[in-house]
Symmetry: C2
Subunit: 103 residues, 2 copies
């Protein structure tokens, strides 16, 4: 499924790391939220509040979760879980398109 | 109104000018489309296919339409029309959030 249906979308986006990450918030009928976003080629460290599931829509990323030593690579169709109140390093060498699901 | 309701949103974004402009496509019940996007501080030249109405959600931009000599400044709540098969120069000194309406 390449799109979310029957949703609301906020007109104002979210900009992080000087624009290396840009997302827009999608609100579902049950009030839950996801973000659809883009990460430009970069190496960034994201902090989480709520637990997240990061789903790769297009592109490739190398991810190291906080407290782990191994780096895993994720590409289109794959997802990774991030615990709440944690962080992860993400490296992209091409534009990454993602959906962030809040658990 | 800070959001669009009862719409579909494409999971994969649109990236232009090496990421200086990132948008996501919103599809309405009648099949019409708009994009919600962000332009990072830059000076860019956009080409239009269909006529567009650019609505500023947040931030400020200086716009010069093709064939015009005057530059006009638009901020949150303001819009400008761009003819089809035309172009415009847009300068942003802070992050611009916009909605692009296709006429």
């Amino acid at each position: 499924m390449s799109q979310f249906d029957n949703v609301s979308v906020l007109k104002q986006g979210n900009v992080y790391f000087d624009g290396k990450c840009v997302s827009h918030t999608v609100v579902f009928a049950d009030g839950s939220k996801k973000t659809v976003g883009v990460i430009l080629p970069s190496k960034l460290n994201f902090n989480t509040g709520a637990p997240e599931i990061m789903e790769v829509i297009a592109g490739v990323c190398n991810v190291t979760l906080s407290g782990e030593t191994s780096t895993k690579t994720y590409s289109a169709g794959q997802s990774f879980d991030v615990p709440g109140n944690s962080s992860f390093d993400i490296e992209t060498t091409e534009t990454l398109h993602y959906v962030c699901h809040f658990a």
